[in-house]
Amino acid sequence: MCLGIPGQITAITDPTRMMAMAEVSGVRREVNVAPIVTGALEDVIGKWALIHVGFAMAEIDEDEAEKTLEALRHLGEAQEELEAMAAGAAALEV
């Protein structure tokens, strides 16, 4: 929850709510991109960001994204984040 996970923004899904689709280790998840928007909303498409509890909190470069993911895998935190995302999706359906 505190370490977050890197993801790549692939598309804007809801401009009024600042929501975008992110791809996180092969998992797609809608995230809020407000913290990393500095100009036009569309500019975030293609960018990498550290994603914390559903919010893109900091823009990072691709190399940093890769290294961070590797570190998270070693700590077992990458799996935990992905499981939390799946649990979140499941919670909506109950």
Binding site: P35, H52, M57, D61, E64, H74, A87, A91
Partner: protein, 380 residues
Amino acid sequence: MKYADEFRDPIAARAALDAIARVCDQIGATAENPVRIMEICGGHTHAIFRYGLDKLTHPGIEFIHGPGCPVCVLPMSRVDECVQLAEQPNVIFTTFGDAMRVPGTRKSLLQAKADGADIRMVYSPLDALELARRNPDKEVIFFGLGFETTTPSTALSIQQASREDLTNFTVFCNHITVPPPIKALLDDPFMKLDGFVGPGHVSMVIGTHPYDFIADDYGKPIVVAGFEPLDLLQSVLMVLEQIRDGKAVVQNQYARVVPEHGNPVSIAAINVVYEQRPSFEWRGLGEIDHSGLRIREQYKAFDAEEKFGIGYATGTRSVQEPEGCECGAVMTGRMKPTQCPMFGKGCTPEMPLGALMVSSEGACAAYYQYGGARAVEPAE
């Protein structure tokens, strides 16, 4: 070298370990008279144990594990209030999974769920918002937990709920801030700390200036660090070099993610939605002035404490710890986890008694998972 395959760049790690050993010798740090460095963030605690950095570094360094694990410092009374909120009729109580197993006086959220309360593990407050939209006839409460890293997410979610005029979404706010407990620890006459490794992702939000007081007022070095093992080694080295050179400044080892002034959007959202509480209770540390946040008047409709009349809204509170638990002593560095009589007996990750055993970022859980079991060559 056993650790070689663990590090992405073993040569750089070796060089950093050697440099750390050199500076330790220069300042005369020994196992008997160590330099005491606190890593504030629980993510760092986890990484230090995962990579055995406490054993690989020069014996003249003692790592003191700081209070930066939100689950670990969550007081029992707040867990009890979560259970109380969740057990009301017509409520969907949503929480990060990390908080499910934290023991309360009566039960944990996990036990409350087993007993029939509608408690759902979510990944994000956005999931809780969506649940509120889909269940207009239910009260959806989100358990807002965490330091400055997660605080913007609940602030932005509350603002979104406000824009949508959602009337069935509230946040039970337990957000806390990093600087006040550090100040409390520095003011503690029994606490001897020589320097700090500062949290990376909290600083990504708030920047590095909130730590200026550590250097300016208390004369201690602090280096904001990433959580890769090499980041940590470099940061420890930077702290040691400051000590050797008689300096005390705030340095940023993690500048590739942490801007000096933080994230303006997140800071603005925090300031608009939240204000400081006069004080807030920390497990093991007691009440600390101005260390917690509450929802401002303007967003009162989204404050679960106000709406359901619990928590600080109800007045006096008692500080309790489970019997036999030494979490407070461990949290303040007075005791190592293994010195707690409950460690590994009455308290294990499967059946935690104290909160430090619940999260992988807690010192006790990290000791239990990686501690004695790890065969690592000591640094020569």
